[in-house]
């Protein structure tokens, strides 16, 4: 009995996050195979216009829960609402992006529902026998596990940039259902007092398509502007290795690696980064890796698709110029 593949849509200020579009796109492909309806679930405030957008990316049905208490994401309220909806509608699968929200919401929801959850998946397959199996990295990406759920719904968070975003089809229609937010008072014990978003124009690291990172070879905080100029020329995010963060040259939030962020960009340019295994854990699934390092023996050259042995202080500005010329 086709019950539905649900995508929990992440939105902020009426903008849908890319990872949700990736999941809708892949969800559409999946739904076509399983015969389930693809359902987009959006929680928030004043979110009615988003229904059209998710329909364009393949949703057959859109469940909107528009409530003041859901304006900003909170663990308790979102868990409460989704738990009740899922128990009512009994979807086969519920997918979320492995974002700050997904990492927080999915485990709580899974426990509330009494089901398992596959975190940070980099692959998803359908077959008649197992229904959905997921590929997920373990040990910092040094190994992968193929996992399957024994309970329903199947719950998983998917790593951003894993699936491509399909071209939207404005003609695709979806049934819109408005649901009331049912929130247990017990779930309102954590209150968001303030949200401080960095004023950066650059893309968020975990979703960025292109990342330029600097490591020990940057030699000091004052040199990151060279990296930033290059990044801004191609709309890239800026990252750093642990060495640079520990030296106090750049904030922790820019760290890519086992004890930093895990990223999966199309292009990762590593400057002055030796390529320690813990750094690899954070960027090893990048599609293309470029290394710029003056040490020809640096480990990073063993995994970079393209490398330049040279002085990054010389190369980066020149590269920035070349990117500018390409337009």
């Amino acid at each position: 009995m086709a019950k539905g593949i649900w995508i929990i849509i992440e939105q902020s200020q009426a903008e849908i996050r890319n990872v949700s579009l990736e999941l809708l796109s892949q969800g559409r492909i999946l739904a076509d195979k399983t015969g389930d309806p693809l359902v987009a679930v959006i929680l928030g405030r004043n979110i009615t216009e988003l229904a059209g957008k998710v329909a364009a990316y393949g949703a057959d049905k859109v469940i909107l829960v528009d409530d003041e208490k859901l304006t900003d994401y909170t663990t308790g309220a979102y868990t409460s609402v989704l738990n009740k909806l899922i128990r009512k509608e009994e979807p086969q699968a519920v997918l979320l992006g492995n974002t700050a929200v997904g990492k927080d919401l999915a485990p709580r929801l899974a426990q509330r529902l009494g089901v398992g959850m596959a975190s940070d998946c980099t692959g998803m397959e359908f077959d008649e026998e197992s229904f959905l199996t997921f590929r997920r990295p373990i040990y910092g990406g040094k190994a992968f596990a193929q996992v399957v759920a024994n309970a329903r719904p199947v719950l998983a968070t998917i790593r951003p940039n894993t699936f491509p975003i399909a071209l939207p089809n404005a003609l695709h229609q979806a049934e819109v259902i408005n649901e009331m937010a049912e929130i247990d008072s017990e779930d309102l014990r954590a209150v968001v007092k303030e949200i401080a978003l960095a004023a950066s124009q650059r893309p968020e690291l975990i979703e960025a398509n292109v990342i330029i990172s600097g490591g020990r070879g940057m030699k000091g905080p004052e040199n990151y502007c060279i990296l930033e100029s290059c990044a801004d020329m191609i709309g890239a995010a800026v990252g750093a290795s642990r060495a640079a963060v520990d030296a106090g040259w750049i904030e922790q939030k820019f760290q890519v690696g086992q004890t930093g962020k895990t990223v999966s960009p199309t292009l990762y340019i590593a400057c002055g980064i030796s390529g320690a295994i813990q750094h690899l854990a954070g960027m090893g699934t990048s599609k293309v890796i470029v290394a710029i390092n003056k040490d020809p023996e640096a480990n990073i050259f063993n995994l970079a698709d393209y490398g330049i042995v040279g002085d990054l202080f010389e190369i980066l500005p020149l590269l920035t110029e070349e990117f500018k010329k390409l337009g």
Binding site: P107, I138, K193, Q252, Q278, L318
Partner: protein, 257 residues
């Protein structure tokens, strides 16, 4: 204040991962350490105790070697430890782990529960949050700063693109993120004293549970190792030529910019 820290022992992040003959992850000869994120939880617990007085109790699950990490945390200054060991818990999934930990934790007093936001081996980041739901208490994930007063905690939490300030009533589960604090080294005196501190061992039966209560919700079908990335080409030439060639390759061949 009664502070509980959930601690996991994991492979050292330097460990080379190989599969044994049955296709499982081989743990022979692997260096085991306290999950690095749990170190922040232990340190924060000790700071809370320094400020408010009270007790720090560690709770963990696993084999005999886990006592090494528990001893390290005891040497850092924690007061006592509970280790849940049972043949039925050989490779539990996150739901099972949360259920068992919840049972154990519910038997001791707690004002605040701290745990690392993620374990570096499974990379799941689920158990602590699940534990909170099982205990029916609030959770805040990924904390960078913690202040407590009058039965409430004010925490700064990391979110994508910034931070959030959250006020949460205690008891609650808080998961720790890098940047929260700098974990202390155990002192020599701490190491000597750790021997005398208790590690209480509990089986499922001691918790009033049995294997039948804990069916797996997820199964691992197989493990595989990634095909190793290989080094590609090194672009040679003068800096200006190399930069030009790289830009060209990225645009025309790799098509990534």
């Amino acid at each position: 204040m009664d502070i509980v820290v959930c601690l996991k022992q994991t492979f050292d992040t330097e460990a080379k991962i190989v599969l044994d003959s049955s296709g499982k992850i081989d743990s022979t000869g692997v260096n085991l350490v306290m999950n690095p994120y749990d170190e922040f939880a232990v340190e924060e617990a000790l700071k809370l105790r320094e400020k408010f007085g009270g007790q720090v109790t560690l709770v963990s699950m696993g084999g005999e070697r886990v006592t090494e990490s528990l001893r390290t945390a005891l040497a850092m200054g924690c007061d006592e430890a509970i280790l849940i060991q049972d043949p039925a818990l050989e490779s539990p999934d996150e739901w099972v782990t949360a259920e068992v930990l919840a049972k154990a934790v519910s038997q001791i007093p707690y004002d605040i529960i701290l745990a690392g936001r993620i374990a570096v081996d499974d990379g799941s980041g689920q158990v602590a949050i699940r534990l909170a739901d099982a205990l029916k208490i609030p959770s805040v994930n990924c904390i960078l700063k913690l202040e407590t007063a009058d039965g409430k905690a004010e925490v700064t939490r990391e979110i994508d693109g910034g931070t959030e300030l959250i006020e949460v009533s205690l008891p609650a589960v808080l998961t720790t993120q890098k940047g929260l604090n700098i974990p202390r080294y155990p002192s020599m005196m701490g190491i000597m004293k750790a021997k005398k501190k208790e590690i209480k061992r509990l089986t499922l039966a001691d918790l009033g549970m049995s294997a039948a209560d804990l069916p797996r919700k997820m199964s691992i079908m197989k493990f595989n190792l990634p095909s190793p990335r290989k080094g590609g080409m090194k672009i040679s030439g003068e800096a200006a030529d190399a930069a030009k060639e790289l830009a060209r390759i990225l645009r025309e061949e790799a098509k990534v910019i």
